[in-house]
Symmetry: none
Subunit: 404 residues, 2 copies
């Protein structure tokens, strides 16, 4: 039989975990009832993946650059701000500067909530916080919940800027500093903008309502992850594969767009815990007719990890497993992994390896019969790096890189 | 449960070995009765470590630089002489030059014993061999047994110098050669010093006594491993961990000091086969109250390897295992490995991987149930590099490096 020529690549964000006391010292993936995943593991080959470097914890942005072969990421990575901005749907122009923004709550000059009580929607602030100052356009675009992106468009702008977000509460926001001489103008005008923006927020009708309701005000913006937009070689050009992205959260949509993938919008794909995994897989199955490479991103696993909810994470994995039934008869190379570990005991990203499996015609087999951290550590793939995944995919679909 | 925040890192020098005929083709570690190590292996995760590169044999100096994350070691390694000098307790100044020194026996211009009959103590020579020549201070500091360090202090000195130690007997000592133009003055004055020193030794009262007793005279010094002292970023600054070093032998104390660790002096810690392992572990347990990171170095395993004594090595490992009982109830991440392999069949360092284990809250588990070369090769950690150890430690205590 010929090798599969089509690929479905499923990334369960923050999949990897550590032994949890509540799960009798199993990980959520080990403890979950996952007949579909186990079947794929049994017929396929498993291993462990260090997304960037062994024992190093990546944020999802850089991790995804590695996973799709845009590494060394320093060369391609445009900064978190750019990825976040792309995820909001804005069309960026060459040399645009962008930051990731948190709406936060300030009291007596100090941050008391870095997420303004996880305010549901910051879209109503978009227009009021977009303006032009000394020839520089400031565009604020809402993301999910308290998140947004700030885009600076103009000439002679630099992204060599420090964050204003101190990443801790009970501290005042920092001034944005120029990290080199050329960034001084950008830093100056940006600080001016931030001051203006916070004034506008303090008097904003939304905050007046929040004050009345005793909700934390969104009276401050915190900036981080400055980046500059530069086009990169598209995924299609790089690998010769027509690719699409099925994701809910902005960061992943933004990344998919950044590398030139088509975005497939799926009803019910929220990028949150309540996302419809089934809808995503149904869309993926359909997309495989048109595309060579379908990337499905599922965020829930990571969210449960950040909450420290190992039972929730286990149950969410079980939902993913059940939905995988939709893909049973799909003739494609299936690759399932995470972009990093988010252990429930840590509630943040760790440097632990992530289980990975490859399933499809032509894939070598190993002795692993269930998909979990412990089993995969003895898998036939052994330990691979994030950047190895795309090469192995190309290899398995007959598009291997040949060195002459 | 929260992750352990404290670390005890035990390095059994030259731990790794090869199958020994006398042990029915087991390695000393496999053959040894080690209930404590096996218990840790069973509850923790094991693997193999290539200290520098796969199949490459490091000396203990560079191996330790890698193990503590001061790699690429070429950047940080100041030369063996500097590490040896620091181990003697001398406080070095920026740009000091240092050599490792062996006291040796010369007869008719040829070396007949590179260790002067393993002379017990060379401290009585310190004062007589320390002097000033043409503005350059020469300071000789005794190490253990026949070992010493020679420090050159002055202006315009270079460490680009060849060794005088030919590393073989029945050869004359070599002249120290300048390896570049700038080192010519240092080479010249150093050869002048060596001549003077050997004359002083020939007429030294200690050697008169040794002649009478028919012991090999310490009538010559052999220099190797020239280095120049440059301060490096301290371990504390680099990792945010208050660290101490519990070691007997000079090289390790010197290294610990070089990276800014506090040295804990332990009575009975000789850096030799007769060292008191128990005293070291008791000191380690106490040190964990004050320090975040306690490094215990044990030299015996390596010495038995160099002697080709596999039974001795096995018994020494059993002594270590017994002493480990002292640490049973210690709440800390425990990491146990070696800095390289010293197979008894070779009597020197080899490039074989070294078994490693991690044990503590939050550590993933694997199927390994005893600590040995064969078992660890199937461990969940698979193969890691020396430089990965410190990253994995940081990862497991919640101080993982995060890439944004």
């Amino acid at each position: 039989m010929a090798e599969s020529r089509k690929v479905i690549f499923i990334v369960l964000d923050g999949l990897g975990d550590r032994p949890c006391e509540k799960l009798e010292w199993q990980t959520p993936l080990e403890a979950a009832f996952t007949p579909n995943l186990n079947h794929l593991a049994k017929e396929g080959i498993c291993g462990m993946c260090s997304p960037l470097e062994f024992a190093v914890a990546p944020e999802s942005g850089p991790a995804h650059f590695e996973l799709f072969g845009y590494s060394p990421f320093e060369k391609f990575y445009p900064g978190r701000g750019i990825i976040e901005a792309l995820g909001t749907g804005i069309k960026l122009k060459e040399n645009d500067i962008a930051f990731r923004v948190n709406f936060a709550t300030l009291k007596k000059g100090k941050i008391v909530d870095r997420r303004a009580g996880r305010i549901k929607n910051v879209k109503p602030f978009e227009k009021d916080l977009s303006m032009e100052l000394r020839g520089v356009k400031f565009i604020l675009k809402a993301g999910t919940e308290h998140r947004a992106a700030l885009i600076l468009r103009g000439s002679n702008l630099s992204h060599k800027l420090s964050d204003s977000d101190p990443r801790k509460i009970n501290k005042p926001p920092k001034e944005v500093r120029a990290l080199d001489k050329e960034a001084e103008f950008t830093a100056e005008i940006l600080n001016e903008y931030i001051e203006k923006a916070c004034k506008i927020l303090s008097n904003h009708r939304i905050n007046k309502i929040r004050r009345k309701k005793n909700l934390p005000e969104a009276n401050c913006i915190l900036l981080r992850g400055a980046g500059k937009f530069k086009k990169v070689e598209s995924f299609k050009k790089r690998y010769g594969l027509r690719a699409c992205c099925i994701a809910g959260a902005g960061l992943y949509k933004g990344f998919g767009k950044f590398i030139g993938m088509d975005l497939i919008n799926v009803k019910g794909a929220t990028g949150s815990k309540d996302t419809s995994i089934k809808a995503k897989f149904i869309a993926a199955k359909r997309a495989l007719r048109k595309y060579d490479f379908v990337w499905v991103h599922i965020k829930g696993t990571d969210l449960y990890g950040h909450d420290g909810d190992c039972i929730g994470k286990k149950k969410f994995i079980e939902k993913v497993d059940e939905a995988l039934g939709i893909l049973t008869d799909v003739k494609a190379l299936k690759v399932i992994t995470g972009d990093h570990s988010t252990p429930c005991s840590l509630k943040e990203h760790s440097g632990d390896d992530v289980p990975i499996l490859f399933h499809g015609v032509g894939v070598r087999r190993d002795k692993v019969s269930s998909f979990g951290e412990r089993e995969c550590a003895n898998g036939g793939l052994q330990r691979i790096r994030g950047k190895d995944i795309i090469q192995e995919i190309l290899n398995l679909i007959g598009k291997q890189r040949i060195i002459e």
